[in-house]
Symmetry: C2
Subunit: 213 residues, 2 copies
C-alpha cells in the first residue's frame, strides 16, 4: 500500500480525497487522525501539514506528501488519469467548481456542521450559525441551478468538481441543508451514490460520532 | 483590447485577477460592475456568471469567458506563461495555497470586511463578525509561519499563490487584520507592492467607497 490518506470520518474535506481515491481504483489506505483529541494540532502533524488540517496524502513510493483536498484530488488525477476533465477548458471548469466549493460550499458547510453538532450546546454561536446557514442557501441555489439538465457538474463524467462539492452533503448531522428543497442536487447526490464503488464517509474512513457517544 | 475583466475596486477577488493581468503584461481593460447597485444580481450578469459574482474574464478573441478568481488566474497563466510555478510539484503547491486562500483567507476576509464596512451599522451581525475574525487569526498565523525565511509563498518567484492570498490584505477598510502583528506577511506584502507594475486595488479597478460617500 503506497498511498496513505491521513483522515477522519467526520471530515468532509477528507471525504473528498478518500472518495476520489476509492473511485480512482488506486491502492490506498486511510490512517486515522484523531482530530477531536487534538491530533491535527500536534507538532508532529504540523510538521507534515503546517495548515494543521486533515486530509494529508502521503505517497511513500515517491517520497511526496500533499494537503488541501483539491490539491490531493489533483494528484490523484495525475496518478490515475481520472476526474480532471477531458480538455483544457473542462479542466479549468473543474477548477472553477472546486474553487466555488472551497469558497462558498464545503468551507461554510463544514464549519456550520461542526458548530451545530460537535461543540457543546452552550458553546454554539447561534448568530454565526444562522449567518452561515443563510450564505449556504445561496451556494445550494447556485449548484442546484447549474445541475438543471446536467448529470454531472462538468462534462459527461464524474470529475473532481462532483467529488469536491459533495464533500459534506451525505452526512446525517444537521447543518441546515434540506436535500429535498434542491431537487437537482438531490438527484445528483443519488446518481453519485449509485456509482459502483461509492461509499458513505463513515464507511470509507475511520472515526465517527458514535465512537465518542 | 481583447481581455476584459468585469470587476469593481472593492472586490478583493477581482483584485486577484486584475493584479495577475497587470503583472502578466497582457493587454486588458477593466469593465466596471456596479455591485453595490445590484449589477451582479441581474439576469444579464447571471447569464455570464450563474455564481452571481465578480470577477468575470471575457476573452473576445477566443469567444471564451471564465469566472472564479483562481480559475481566471489559471487562464492568465495559460496565456502568459507566468505565475503557475516552474514544475508539476510547484504548480500543485500553488494550487494548494490558492485553495487555502479560497477556503480560509480571502473568503473569510472578504465577507468580514463587507459586514464591517459596507453594511449599515445597525445591520452588522457582530457575533458573526467576531467569529470570522477569530477564524482569520488562524489563517494569518498559518501564512505568516509559512513565509518565515521565504520571499514568496511558492518557489523563488511571484506565483498565483501570492496573487491570491494578498487579495484583501492591501485594503484600508478595517476587518480585523493587524499587519504589524504578522511581520512575515507584512514584509511579503511590502515586497509584492514594490514589484514593478504593482498597483493598489483602488488604482487598478474602477469603483471605491468614496464614490458612494
Amino acid at each position: 500500500m503506497t498511498l496513505q490518506l491521513q483522515c477522519f470520518g467526520e471530515s468532509g474535506n477528507s471525504y473528498k480525497a478518500a472518495l476520489a481515491l476509492e473511485l480512482s481504483g488506486l491502492a490506498w489506505e486511510p490512517v486515522f487522525v484523531d482530530f477531536f483529541q487534538g491530533a491535527a494540532r500536534t507538532p508532529e502533524f504540523k510538521a507534515i501539514n503546517a495548515m494543521g488540517e486533515a486530509p494529508v496524502l502521503i505517497d511513500t513510493d515517491h517520497d511526496y506528501s500533499i494537503t488541501q483536498s483539491g490539491a490531493i484530488q489533483d494528484y490523484i488525477s495525475h496518478l490515475s488519469g481520472k476526474f480532471a476533465g477531458n480538455s483544457p477548458k473542462e479542466r479549468r471548469e473543474v477548477l472553477r467548481w472546486v474553487l466555488f466549493d472551497n469558497h462558498k460550499l464545503s468551507s461554510m458547510a463544514g464549519v456550520t456542521r461542526f458548530l451545530m453538532n460537535f461543540l457543546p450546546e452552550d458553546k454554539r454561536p447561534q448568530e454565526a450559525i444562522a449567518f452561515n446557514q443563510g450564505r449556504l442557501q445561496g451556494a445550494y441555489a447556485v449548484l442546484n441551478a447549474h445541475l438543471e439538465g446536467r448529470q454531472w457538474i462538468v462534462g459527461n463524467d464524474i470529475t473532481n468538481a462532483d467529488l469536491s462539492c459533495c464533500g459534506y452533503l451525505y452526512y446525517p448531522e444537521p447543518f441546515g441543508f434540506d436535500r429535498a428543497a434542491f431537487p437537482n442536487i438531490d438527484a445528483w447526490l443519488t446518481r453519485l451514490s449509485e456509482t459502483p464503488g461509492w461509499k458513505h464517509p463513515y464507511d470509507l474512513m475511520p472515526g465517527n460520532p458514535s465512537d465518542r457517544a
